[in-house]
Symmetry: C2
Amino acid sequence: MKGKKCVILLSGGLDSATVAAVARNSGFDISAITFSYGQRHDIEIGSSRRIAEFFNITDHRIIQIPSDIFRSALTDRSINVPKNRESIDGTIPPTYVPARNILFLSYALAYAESISASDIFIGANCMDYSGYPDCRPEFFDAFQKMADAGTKAGIDGKPIRITAPLLKMKKSEIIKAGTALGVDYSMTISCYDPDRDGRSCGRCDSCRLRIRGFSEAGVSDPTVYQIKS
Amino acid sequence: MKGKKCVILLSGGLDSATVAAVARNSGFDISAITFSYGQRHDIEIGSSRRIAEFFNITDHRIIQIPSDIFRSALTDRSINVPKNRESIDGTIPPTYVPARNILFLSYALAYAESISASDIFIGANCMDYSGYPDCRPEFFDAFQKMADAGTKAGIDGKPIRITAPLLKMKKSEIIKAGTALGVDYSMTISCYDPDRDGRSCGRCDSCRLRIRGFSEAGVSDPTVYQIKS
């Protein structure tokens, strides 16, 4: 008997590892997609492999996207990653990657329809960090409608459901939920700008949200930082 | 002085060549994207290069997409391309490629936002051939709304406009319009299943629509066919 199938976007970060745990806990047979798009934190691809192995995900695809499609501080080393920003205040920072989640979800949709998966999971969340337009509920609602209109699955009345289960959770809540499901967060990396030894900077927005999340959750942070802010 | 910029999806077919002419005629500085996705008619990539050269498009990107993302008669040689179908009747045929236009437009959107292009053009049309869900006006409307919600450009009130200028034109009307704009259709190929010498089959849906289009337009068809249906 075949179980229900899903496609998850696995970045190698804390959120997508938690999503993998949620999907597995819900009984899904998981296919995972990770993207190599010239991100300066491409060390996360190694993390994604460890997470896939941890969850026995045998169908794990690493898809190459040419980095010069995107103009962003995450792909272009001539643009600095902001460190110790005064506030993480909801403005769109230079680490925004144009249409990234749109492109990633489109790959997931194509693959989900091709393998007859019913669900797509993405680890986006908008609570601690509302600066990215493609991490907001309005975006996901619009993407679902577009997917329903633009696929055979949607036309046939079997739309592929796109879920961001962490969308409205605080980082600390995500960490607590994942810890309860057995996620080993030492496999994951959040830093936008790690050093050559893979140590997190501790000062970019993503590190700071991670540090605060572990602290608020009362869970020991397994991350190796260059400096602790 | 810099002109207005657009990104066009250039497949190498008749429609996208016409779209390039329309965009050029509207005064756009054109960037073009072509996809190599394991399509059995990958000869169209050579056509896209000739079209780009014809229109002096210097920014022409060929992007690789792993073919096993898609399950379709166009990417999987174990599935036959239908020939001489009784009717081209609006049912979704096996040449449907899951979420293809969604993925292609997402790439165009990421690149357009990265280079500050205002417009994206795609050569889809739904009049002669309404079988593909991602060639319908409802789909393009939904994609536009999704793009507006999911990009910085959209949030900032400068949404990237996605236009399918041929959407409601018959194939014969497209050929007439392109001919008037000086398009040399001998550069283009429409066949889903050409032979090794690049000759069109003349029997797949795409060839039949092309043959009928030239006939109805009263324009000589420069295509080399294996057989003429």
